[in-house]
């Protein structure tokens, strides 16, 4: 369990060590409370990540772990 605000500005890495950027926000389904996407402020160009309004939109399903860094499974990036 973590507080949403503690995620803010955490560095996001791909599972192969590539830096993606920093956590900007999270989207949720307010009805079910389920997390939908991680919104990341880009630091590196990664072609397979969907961009919206200049921000990366990473499906929460591909997030592997969150502690000091947020680690995203590169293989699961494609929707």
């Amino acid at each position: 369990m973590i507080l949403a605000k503690s995620l803010s500005k955490k560095v996001v890495l791909l599972s192969d060590g590539t830096v993606v950027g920093r956590v900007y926000n999270l989207t949720v389904d307010l009805r079910t409370g389920l997390l939908v996407d991680l919104i990341v402020k880009p630091q590196t160009e990664i072609p397979e990540i969907v961009k919206d309004d200049g921000l990366y939109v990473i499906p929460f399903d591909s997030v592997k772990s969150i502690s000091d860094y947020v680690v995203v499974d590169r293989k699961r990036l494609r929707r």
Partner: protein, 106 residues
């Protein structure tokens, strides 16, 4: 309430029960990473006349949320502190005491 929204849009919203009673103000949102789901709403400012706690903040279970708009409406229920045993889990959220619902008020 069928909508995808940024989690930060919840910060600062006032929480009322469906009977119009003020519950508190959202300070932060507690996330259950394993379930990939919101676990609860962390309130720093809360109505001490309906919530029996001395903690600097309390966590309301998200399942009692009925709707989210300009304010948040939750089911009108009584809350109690989680027992010491079951509260261990939330120790990492400093300053907030997790509540659980006991009886629904009809």
């Amino acid at each position: 309430m069928d909508m995808i929204s940024e989690i930060s849009s919840l910060f600062g919203l006032n929480v009322y029960t469906d009977k119009g009673i003020y519950v508190g103000k959202v300070e932060d949102v507690v996330i259950d990473l394993e379930k990939r789901q919101i676990r609860g709403l962390a309130l720093k400012e809360y109505n001490k006349s309906i919530i029996d706690s001395n903690a600097s903040g309390v966590i309301l279970p998200y399942r009692i949320v009925k709707s989210v708009g300009d304010i948040i409406i939750v089911k009108d229920v009584f809350w109690v502190k989680k027992s010491e045993e079951s509260n261990k889990e939330s120790e990492e959220i400093k300053g907030f005491e997790e509540l659980e619902q006991v009886i629904e008020v009809e």
